[in-house]
Amino acid sequence: MPRKNETSRIPLPLRLAAYALLVLGLLAGAAGLLELVTDGHLHENTTLHVPWGLWVAMYIFFLGLSAGAFLITTLPYLFGVRRLEPIGPLALVTSLVCLLLAGLLIMADLGHPLRMYQVMLSMNLTSPMAWMGILYSIYAVIIVSHLYLVLRPTMVARVKEGTGPTALYRLLALRSRRTDAASVAGDRRWLRRLSVMGIAVTVLVLGCEGSIFAVAKARPHWFGGLFPLVILISALASGGALMTFLTAISTRLPAEEKQGIVRWLAVFMVSILTLEMLILGTELFTAFYGGVEHELHTWEATVTGPYGLNFWGLQIGLGFMLPLLLVLSPGSRRSTTWLGLAGFLGVIGLIGTRISLVIPAQLVPVFEGFGDAYKHMRFQEGYLPSTGEWLITVGVFALGCWLLLAAFRLLPLDGSHLVAQSKGV
């Protein structure tokens, strides 16, 4: 298998432009971080009514990507979707990177991030956020263990061959040297066990994440049993979308295999997105038909006003209609590139979904006229992210891209050697 760099297919000017954008993104993040460290949350636009803004929306976006990508890696081991086995390493690294990005965003959102240890030291067992602290940690351990088991045989083989950064591989393989069939079979047994545990923990993580919002009876739009389910379904769509895109642009799989995987993932993505749209449709129907004031105001804030563009443009247009069109249209459904684009659009659309879930629900204050009770920006109704919030968010996205690029370059993620295994050879 020639180790030709896949990205070399992308024209050089485009590649340079992408790198320049990513450097700018990191610089933007650094500027935002500097402002955050210097002035704390002073320049944030969140308020008494909207205590959770863009960073929290992006936190659940990245957590959804992480969980979704992880769930996709468990499909071969648990549900026999062997076809997806070659993208396991890529999906796991993506999952880990997204988990890290989610953690960074939540750290930025905290008033005293250095006291996060208090969640463990002085845990409040009735708080879904405290449960999240435990589950998040277990989830991280499971992903890292999974990644170790998936990458270990390849890294050990590369060390023996003397190809790639052998010192790094030796370190990451924890000095393991075995590549015999028994050790690989042992890894697979563990992978199956971890997959079972992983699915349980991931569902709990997502359920818990949803519960953080769902138990807040102060916010009728969040409150109720549907929210955790929407978070779970949306995470599956996230995983499908991101992996469709990443598989299309980055793996060095044989063209036929690659197309098969990308197509499977793209169909998976639009199926889940369709389910999500059905739920959204029933919610919209009951809200506007029933006309309960608070629900109605929240949905109005979601579909009209400043967040209307997010809803119709990102969530529905770019995030659902276009990917659906690309996956169904005869002209594009066999093209890895077009399907990859569908995946990319799906990811962008899911940013809109997360914003719709988190922000508009808070735009309706807990009392009518509350915004006039005290003249200050923190009491004013409405919310749009500040420059600082955008800067940090852009920085986190750029950091994620750099981390993934580094992982592609340094780790044996191509999975092409797994194609034979996935065919049961």
Binding site: P51, N124, T126, A130, R219, V366, F370, A373
Partner: protein
């Protein structure tokens, strides 16, 4: 007249006794983890919106007492205008923390930084609060504020340089130091209660619209104006905000 006189005489004695009793049951308040009330105390307020003139003295008194920065107000007055000219009315609603018996904020706080004292007051341990703002999202009454670090002027004014007496901790607000970056809330002026004084908002109210006292005591009287609290509640119909949520606030509003 006779009744008034009797009442006044009674209040002279019992009001003072109540204050003394309150003071004696609050022996020092050296921080939120300090001594608490006996469990037969449930501090609460009975607010008479008909007496409220919308002057917002309660908001100002609270801010002055607790040295709260811009954007942080523990007690605000909500305003509602109803009807159309010439049949128009405007009503005001003073909204301190409801000190709910079944508080949403304490339930969701991940670090137990906010918790209920046995006297019914919900407090915050600033050193445990990580500033996640979950309690703000969960509070149905909007009674919590995040200290974003605003100051009134670029150069700190003399009152801002003084430490806040909140929780008897005398913290000096400074960049990156609690309570900056923390969630803050009304404590019924716990530090004043510890000295046998009443909450600043209730004490200041020019219309005598805010009654304050021990709601758990069947004989409990307003520590400021002397009325029987239970009598106030039964003689006029009263309600609590968003009763349907089941938070059981300790603040009642007379109709």
């Amino acid at each position: 007249m006779k009744m008034k006189l009797t009442r006044r005489n009674f209040l002279k004695g019992s009001g003072a006794a109540c204050l003394t009793a309150a003071a004696s049951t609050l022996p020092g308040c050296s921080g939120v983890g300090g001594s608490e009330e006996a469990s037969d105390t449930r501090w609460g307020m009975i607010i008479d919106p008909r007496r409220c003139v919308g002057c917002r003295a309660c908001t100002v008194a609270c801010k002055a007492e607790n040295h709260t920065p811009p954007g942080v107000a523990y007690n605000v007055v909500l305003e509602e205008e109803r009807g159309s000219f010439p049949h128009v009315t405007r009503s005001y609603l003073t909204r301190p923390c409801m000190q709910c018996a079944r508080s949403s904020c304490t339930l969701v706080c991940p670090t137990k930084a906010t918790y209920k004292r046995s006297d019914g007051i919900t407090v915050i341990d600033y050193d445990k609060c990580i500033g996640c703002r979950y309690c703000i999202a969960a509070c149905p009454y909007g009674a919590r504020c995040f200290d974003y670090g605003h100051n009134y002027l670029a150069e700190l004014t003399p009152p801002e340089k003084q430490p806040s007496p909140e929780y008897g901790e005398n913290r000096q607000r400074a960049k990156g130091v609690s309570p900056m970056g923390n969630v803050r809330k009304c404590t019924f002026c716990l530090h004043r209660l510890a000295k046998g004084l009443n909450p600043a908002c209730a004490e200041t109210c020019i219309g005598h619209a805010i009654h304050f006292g021990n709601l758990a005591d069947p004989q409990g009287r307003c520590l400021i104006h002397g009325e029987s609290l239970q009598e106030l509640l039964v003689s006029r119909s009263s309600s609590r905000l968003k009763e349907e949520l089941g938070n059981e606030p300790s603040v009642y509003y007379l109709d």
